[in-house]
Amino acid sequence: MGGYGDVKLLRDDGKRLDGRAIDEMRPVTIEAGVLPAADGSAMVTHGLNVAVAAVYGPMEAHPRKIQRQDRAVIDVRYNMAPFSTGDRIRPGFNRRSREISKVTAESLESVVLVERYPRSKIRVEIEILAAEAGTRCAGITAASVALADAGIPMRDMIVGVASGKIEDTVVLDLDKAEDNYGQADLPVGILPNTGEIAFLQMDGDLSIEEYNLAMEYNHKAAKEIHEIMVDALKRRYEGGEN
């Protein structure tokens, strides 16, 4: 981030390279229940990102040393498919995927009522099929919908959104060029009901004013994405109750 100061990311008309306004999000679609074998699942497309999340459990936690006597543990595995980017990604865990798995697990633990399932494990698998900046946000949104689809009790769902800074301008939802050549990136996990923050990371520098503006954009986008999440769950179960 930074270091490529001469890359032009804003057009003369004030719009971004892909024609979006500075506070405009890429199109988001969500579908719940895409994987029949999982207890709950969801697919999120966010711009060109495609994230699929599957939830299994609650199940017995193995190895036994990871069990907690008073609550469930959430085991998240975030993985990018080898074909998800232009350059082939070597399959398997790497430093980045471990980090994202960890922050995702910790943020999900803050909303899932883990104390209802002592000593057990809830497994969340997030697979990124196509990547175009913002995969951790798409992954966390997919994981939230998949957990709800699996019937796991939660205080709220988490929405993953990001804002950033390009050419000294705060913009919502960075795409690949903006992520690579921009000045800052601020991915956040927001609880749309209360506005609480479940996770927050920052890459690059933002002033306090820029940070506040970025968070304002993030909260606005979180509300929009949350409506799409609720709609996805409703669509899955439309047709009336028993």
């Binding site: 057990s120 699996a150 019937g151 009790p153 179960y237």
Partner: protein, 228 residues
């Protein structure tokens, strides 16, 4: 954010949805009270009965309770006990003393091996999910034949119907013996073709159980079988 309302009509709620003020009412399952408001914690249908507001979940994991009739698969065998996979968050333990056979120490495998299915009852569950099974009781036995099909736990009542009425109709229509375990496993036994029909019907329930189409599927089956 869309806000659900506590009212007579059933409506779909999602986790985090504010359902209404909590004054004078109690939070039932799938519901928490925070800042004098009820918040749904699961996807399901909103329900209010006797001043208790709850969510009837569309999808939920099996939570074992003592007294449940379950269909389990043997996951592990020790010298004097068996561990069963009961479709729950934990394996259940069947000690030699609660098995229906006289078992010598070290001979547990001769009665039930890994992968065998059995009909058992949950004797007790403690707060950390330790479960003890018993196979001493009327009808509790090893399931040597037939097939076991899984259904979501929240659809068990739909499959059974009031006083097992729907289940009896399916039994009559398919000419199968069917036992529905409280853990979402269904044992079917009959001739091959009848078992196939029963399985197909249960798969329909799996796929469309949250809709009101299951009764129609049972009726269609009854009509079709009646013509033959």
């Amino acid at each position: 954010m869309s806000k659900g309302q506590v009212g007579a009509e059933l409506r779909l709620v999602t986790p985090g949805m504010v359902v209404g003020p909590s004054s004078g009412k109690r939070a039932g399952s799938g519901m928490i009270a925070e800042n004098n408001e009820f918040i749904a914690t699961r996807v399901g249908w909103l329900n209010e009965q006797n001043n208790v507001v709850s969510v009837q979940p569309i999808n939920s994991a099996y939570m074992p309770r003592s007294g449940d009739l379950i269909i389990g698969f043997v996951a592990e065998v020790r010298n004097n006990l068996w561990f069963f996979d009961v479709n729950g968050p934990f394996q259940a333990l069947l000690p030699m003393s609660l098995a229906p056979w006289k078992v010598e120490f070290g001979a547990a495998r001769q009665h039930l091996g890994i992968g065998d299915a059995a009909l058992a009852r949950i004797q007790e569950v403690d707060e950390t999910h330790n479960m003890v099974l018993t196979m001493k009781g009327v009808g509790l036995r090893r399931l040597n034949e037939g097939a076991v099909v899984s259904i979501p736990v929240n659809l068990i009542d739909t499959l059974r119907g009031d006083n097992n009425s729907t289940l009896s109709r399916i039994r009559d229509a398919t000419d199968c013996r069917i036992i529905v375990g409280d853990n979402g496993r269904v044992w079917i036994h009959g001739d091959t073709e009848a078992m196939h029909v029963a399985r197909q019907l249960i798969l329909t329930l799996n796929q469309e159980g949250h809709k009101n189409t299951f009764q129609g599927a049972v009726e269609a089956l009854e009509n079709e079988r009646g013509e033959h």
